[in-house]
Symmetry: C2
Subunit: 247 residues, 2 copies
């Protein structure tokens, strides 16, 4: 990484979504799509840190720097990957009309997709303006339609939900990485953790309790619990007044 680079001499906001994909003439053997899919496969199999320009190129049978014709930086690639992942989330389209059920479904599908691509939350990228992301936002919005709320409130609701989903996914990812970092299988890792807790319990009950707490954090039940809290809270706020104010 040769220096920060001023990166934008002309002051253009250079988002990939505002640039058209280069038109396919005849020769091109690559495309943004292929590149993105290959990158995602690599990340799924070997983790995000295994995603390198060279490796993608190699997997595509292309030269090392060929990709730079289609993307202008690795961050661009990340943005493409993010949008693609968002696109994998199954959506209730059209919404059923029951906003709570719809949001719950979206939440579950999102969680499921995130856990198939655990690296997602490590991209450090807010899914931006890509087409798949926009569709996601659009459908989520539509789920709230017959509540007749103002735009601002709807946005806040969905943001809260998404924040929760991101946070949960982050925790899961971090746990998985921690386990991987030790080089143990999941079984070995769990056994060892239990052992550590038992051992700690003898000299430091507080530590043992703390570890127990952390141990059970990822999983179905805590996810459901938090999700229910959020939806319940949203419902409470909408029943009250059109513009809820924090106490």
């Amino acid at each position: 990484m040769p220096g920060p680079d001023q990166h934008n001499p002309r002051g253009e906001a250079d988002l990939i979504w505002l640039r058209p994909e280069r038109v396919r003439r005849e020769r091109p053997s690559l495309s943004r799509d292929e590149i993105t899919r290959t990158a995602i496969d690599l990340a799924d199999r070997d983790g995000l840190e295994a995603v390198s320009i060279r490796r993608i190129a190699a997997a595509l049978g292309a030269g090392a720097n060929s990709l730079y014709w289609y993307i202008s930086s690795k961050d661009d690639l990340y943005e493409l990957m993010a949008d693609e992942v968002i696109g994998e989330i199954a959506l209730p389209d059209p919404p059923s009309g029951d906003w709570r059920a719809d949001l719950r479904a979206i939440a579950h599908n999102t969680q499921e997709t995130f856990s198939r691509h655990r690296w997602f939350v490590l991209l450090g990228i807010q899914p931006g303006l890509g087409p798949k992301t926009r569709r996601y936002g659009q459908v989520a919005m539509a789920c709230l339609d017959n509540l007749h709320l103002d735009l601002n409130t709807k946005i806040n609701m969905l943001a809260a939900l998404n924040n929760y989903l991101f946070g949960f996914a982050h925790r899961e990812t971090a746990w998985a990485d921690l386990q991987k970092r030790t080089g143990l299988t999941e079984q070995q890792w769990n056994d060892r953790l239990r052992g550590m807790i038992d051992h700690a319990a003898h000299q430091d009950t507080e530590l043992a309790e703390h570890m127990t707490a952390r141990l059970q954090l990822p999983g179905e039940e805590p996810f459901e619990f938090g999700l229910t809290c959020l939806l319940e809270g949203i419902a409470a706020l909408t029943n009250r007044s059109p513009t809820p104010r924090p106490s």
Copy 2:
């Protein structure tokens, strides 16, 4: 990064928190603390990607690889940084007794600390078993004490809250990074975004609305909104401390 490395031939779960800091004899000029603080300062000033072993060493006036005596890998360093950041969060200790107010305070302080160290959520590390993190968990637990819930429920509540906080911080960080990536000042960036929205509104009103929505996501008001939702939902689920409001 020379290969994955099996990393743990003997199958030891090698967490930094289970190893004592090397005892200080006389000569040592470095310490985990100094290293951690230097790393944090670097990250605050120049971003997480500017945190390299060599740069930290240079900043400490030490040789390139001296740090490896104190930490055994860069991931270890991340763990130390995370614990340190958690330690900066102001806590209501002892709790006031009003669990809602206490959790709200913790949430605000956490958010405030995270936004001073935006790189935190990019560590890809779940704050683990470090002393500061344990204290955080301990105090948060104590806030729920006089609700007399079972351990499991309390853990789920705090997890939900923390997930939300992580998610929100992630969004803020991602936005800030996006802006930085364009190389524009915040002012320029906002102007440009507004311009893009206005421009988009002519040909694609849906896109314009979508961008508007995203534009306002980080900020005080959405944070407060989601936080209130969560606390309200928690209250509803415990049907302790009932929300006295017939719609």
